[in-house]
Symmetry: D2
Subunit: 134 residues, 4 copies
């Protein structure tokens, strides 16, 4: 799985004293940047042929300000024009959140989804999560 | 269903030129404030006995800066200590996103979930969504 | 002055239990949308010939979740290619923050600032703040 | 000066295709965490005796998604109960933003500012910026 380390920011806390839930959805987007780089190594938004169709986040434990969070990102499975990303957030050795994202291969010019080219699929397959029970 | 009107903000757009997906997860939190008020009419975070266990968002259509978005929020069903919220986002007469959120009745002092008191359930039941197929 | 009413969102609070300071800078951007509409009534980002050169925010009092905030926005003075916006945030009858923003009239094609056309200036002058001591 | 490296996130871009200005104000807050750690090494918000009285940000150049930004943070000068922080954002060897923040030493229990204790001042003085012409 790809690994991205996040330092929680003060403005990401909320009045409950922990990291706000919605922020975690944002961190998972950030974790998916490792996947975006498969399509555009320089992360040029104009060259990113993906849109997001769905997200799911399970909030497993409270996430605290003051210690780093690791976002782990892998591929769960492939559809014809889309693929499912699985993600986990870990803090201090504990799983604190899990997520899924459905990314669609998308032609921004025609505004249509298209079959995921084999060249990209081959790269992404290297990041398939074995027992995708997360 | 509860209705909350959101004016998209410029900083909520992203480089694709539309509203960023993660922002929609935030708007759905805002839509759930109508439910938070059932528990704390003055929206005092210290008196809000809910935590969020899970969210799902389906991104149905692009959301544009420059016109209002209506967030509709209702209850799908009740568990013993939790309930499922269903939400929709509408812009210019079009359904642009759908969401679900699992809210857990939670005692912040004991850090434990507790059965949802009948008094709250009675109020929330008035907002049950009939054919909860969204 | 233009007036924009903001309902603070739960995710805009921070661990101090109030609205995070940085959020206020965002709300002031939202307050300036009334000015953006002078240049593009439909708020089309592609037609917005302004960039932001500078912001200042004075945090006067704590801002609470649970009650509305009014953002007041006016023009302090004009330069050749820019103008200064003054802003205030009010909650429950109390001034809670003050801000200034320097907006530059900007040609996104040439990536150069340009003199502010008189037609725009005439409209904006109607929103000049008399005693600009804020 | 303290140095903090930020990887811009996709959701921090806006419809102009670059990083949104308000986000930079947030990054500067993140840069100030090095200063927060002087007061609470574990970054416990309950032990952070500072409030923010004012921020200024000058937007010098466009900031792009896809390459890191270094936030440099130092102390400009001390008042009796407050101190001024100066900050810079650098991307690809170019200064892209400058900021100032006025932090006040604050007793959250009494809700009053207090003189900055010498012990803290001694540590912060090591980060005084010599020619504070930023």
């Amino acid at each position: 799985m790809f690994s991205t380390v996040i330092s929680p920011r003060f403005y990401e806390t909320d009045a409950f004293g922990h990291i706000n839930n919605i922020v975690v959805a944002g961190w998972f987007e950030t974790g998916r940047e490792a996947i975006f780089r498969v399509f555009t190594p320089e992360l040029d938004p104009q060259k990113l042929p993906l849109i997001l169709a769905r997200i799911e986040v399970d909030f497993v434990a409270q996430i605290y300000y003051g210690s780093e969070v690791e976002i782990r990102t892998g591929i769960e499975k492939f559809g014809r024009t889309s693929f499912i990303v699985v993600q986990e957030a870990w803090q201090k050795g504990e799983l604190v959140a899990r997520g899924r994202a459905v990314q669609v291969y998308f032609n921004h010019d025609t505004q249509q989804s298209e079959p995921l080219p084999a060249a990209y699929r081959d790269v992404l397959e290297q990041h398939l999560v074995g027992a995708a029970d997360s």
